[in-house]
Amino acid sequence: MNEIEQTRNPTGNSSNPPLEVHDLTVAYDQKPVLWDIDFELPEGSLTAIIGPNGAGKSTLVKAAMGLIPASSGYTLIYGKPLDKQRHRVAYVPQRESVDWNFPISVMDVVLMGRYPHLRLFQRPGRDDRDVALAALKEMGMEPYHKRQISQLSGGQQQRVFLARALAQDASIYLMDEPLAGVDAATEDVIFQKLKELRDGGKTVVVVHHDLQSVPDNFDRAMLLNLRMIACGPVSEIFTDENLQKTYGGRLNILSQMIEESRQQRFVRESES
């Protein structure tokens, strides 16, 4: 880490990529689930992490954030070690990771996004509430700010989590399946927001399940299955060969399904 300390530019070197992860290996009970992952992401990019169930997508996000112990590897944020830069990274956990019966309001959850900007013992102030409300508004959740979180639908919960990340006002966003179980309308809202973030120069990484919506919505992708199969612009790496490597034998059914749903979408669009 010392070399890194020395080479860092105190004014924030713009040549350093916002997010780099190097030789990351993670094992649960001796069984490796991520093997020597290495990547860098440029500023103003929107990246999808793609891979079959159990490929290690959630593990990658968690390990990159230092939430679970890794056998090896490290994360750099704008060339600096993660621990000094955590406030610049907003993590959106999987929705199922918390107890939605917890006695707090939507506003309380979003205000948690302001905690990195508060000192120990310091309570959120009026400014923080304004930021939180603005974030809720951006996600179309402002009318719900007083609600208890158990009274939200799955898609609304997801939006609250995203609003919390927005309230954090970070430069890098790491999201674990923010589109899982949301309806088409919410999906549009979220994709729209992700693109806005990217266009505002943020670096956004999203664990994503729906292969079919990748080319239209993301500019980069990481194909993951224990190892990094490919990482780069969607147009370059989204090849049959790479997908085949990522999904193995399952691709045949999968590509059929994609074809099937494309046709259905075509039919639906021509109907309306």
């Binding site: 993590y91 107890d99 990195p116 508060l118």
Partner: protein, 453 residues
């Protein structure tokens, strides 16, 4: 009555001490208990409380009698030791958490009972007051005890208030907390430490056997009244304080009575009241809601029945006797009366004398009935079209959904289905745009209008 006045006039300085001590304990254990139950650590608290007994006994042996500082030290060390043991077992073995909690609880408590018996049988240690630590004896607290135990409670309370924001985040979403750089491990340790400390603070007043309930019950009662963590903490603290007062009062008036059980009983009583009376979540409120819903459903069903009778014979001026309605809907006659009087009050039906007496839908009633039939049929259509549910299976579901579909959902259904003309059973779906048939207006001349039946 005299004792009550004497007690609450607070003339006796000892009463003041004891009250202050138990109130502080109630407040801090209630507040901290909220975090314990929300993080599902309530049973851990019980195990820690029981595991403190050997520490208490050792403190007696080492100090050769009762010494508050020694007691706290012994209790704290063993409380922490039990916590660490449970953590170690669940981390390094395949034993499930509940088993490791049970194991630690019984082994430590067993050890405590062995030491207790040892002290009592050997007899060369001043054992006065040792029994009190099983079930608590608030009144036996003297100035020093109150200073030490009450001071400890106060300290816990202050720390809890100071780090409230941090505890809230770590309890709700530890992985987000870690992602923004919170020292989650250390916060969790702090919480564990506070829990051990509050249990330690309670051993004199409540006793090791029941101390955990002072963590759990006030918090569980408080959860009924609010959806805000802060308010929940305040209510739990209040419940704890009230239980503390009750316990010390009992212990003052009946010195032979242990305090702990009384505190728990009064906390449990408050819990029971919350369980029954809390608005929204309490059983009575829920019962009323359920009754209201079932009444609404019955009213709507009768409206629909009247409408379908009109549909069947195409006549809006024929009186429908209550008996016939009852037969069609299988309602008990008392409920039928209530339903009809509600419908009359809302102006959905009018009652006419005739041969026999009967009811007619008003224009409003017909409109409402139409709406119900419409959402029922729209829902059936939606189920069969979008969810591919067989036509003969959709009716049951629609029968219950029609009472819940709001106008927004109806609008969404209509957009998504494009306002179809027929439902899956090929019945017409009635829309409001249809010309309203004249209501029972002209039939009013034929029948003498009566009051309520």
């Amino acid at each position: 009555m005299d004792t009550l006045i004497e007690f609450f006039s607070l003339q006796d300085p000892n009463i003041r001490y004891v009250l202050a001590g138990t109130i502080l304990l109630g407040i801090s254990s209630g507040a901290l208990g909220c975090f314990a139950i929300l993080r599902r650590r309530a049973l851990v608290g019980d195990a820690v409380a029981h595991s403190i007994l050997p520490g208490v006994c050792l403190a007696f042996i080492i100090a050769g009698g009762k010494d508050p500082f020694m007691l706290i030290l012994g209790a704290f060390v063993f409380g922490l030791l039990s916590m660490v043991t449970m953590d170690f077992i669940s981390r390094n073995s395949r034993i499930a958490p509940d088993a490791s909690i049970g194991m630690v609880l019984s082994v430590f408590f067993g050890l405590g009972v062995v030491l207790l018996t040892f002290i009592q049988t050997t007899g060369y240690i001043d054992q006065s007051g040792l029994d009190d630590f099983l079930f608590g004896q608030a009144a036996s607290m003297v100035g020093d005890d109150v200073m030490v135990f009450g001071g400890l409670s106060l300290l816990i309370l202050i720390v809890t208030i100071l780090v409230f924001k941090e505890l809230k985040l770590v309890s709700f979403d530890p992985s987000y907390a870690r992602s923004i750089g919170y020292p989650v491990k250390r916060m969790e340790f702090l919480l564990a430490l506070l829990m051990v400390l509050v249990i330690t603070a309670g051993i004199q007043a409540v006793g090791v056997v029941l101390m955990a309930s002072m963590l759990i019950i006030p918090a569980a009662a408080a959860r009924y009244w609010t959806d805000s963590l802060r308010v929940m903490l305040l209510i739990a603290a209040g419940v704890g304080a009230v239980s503390g007062v009750t316990g010390s009062f009992i212990s003052y008036t009946a010195p032979a009575m242990p305090t702990g059980p009384w505190m728990v009983v009064s906390a449990a009583f408050i819990f029971f009241l919350s369980f029954l009376l809390a608005p929204g979540r309490g059983e009575i409120a829920r019962h009323i809601q359920k009754r209201r819903l079932s009444h609404k459903v019955a009213c709507e069903n009768i409206l629909k029945t009247l409408y379908s009778m009109e549909e069947e014979d195409g006549r809006t001026d024929r009186l429908r006797p209550a008996k016939e309605l009852r037969k069609r809907r299988h309602l008990a006659s008392r409920r039928m009366k209530k339903v009809l009087s509600t419908l009359l009050r809302k102006g959905y039906v009018t009652y006419f004398r005739g041969t026999p007496d009967g009811y007619l839908l008003t224009a409003d009633g017909r409109k409402e009935a139409k709406r119900l039939v419409r959402v029922h049929r729209l829902w059936e259509q939606y189920l069969s079209q979008h969810l591919q549910i067989a036509e003969d299976h959709v009716h049951e579901d629609a029968e219950s959904m029609e009472h819940l579909i709001t106008s927004e959902i109806e609008a969404q259904l209509r957009t998504s289905l494009g306002s179809p003309a027929l439902d899956p059973h090929k019945s017409t779906i009635p829309y409001d745009s249809d010309e309203d048939e004249p209501a029972g207006g002209k039939s009013g001349d034929k029948h003498k209008q009566g009051g309520t039946p």
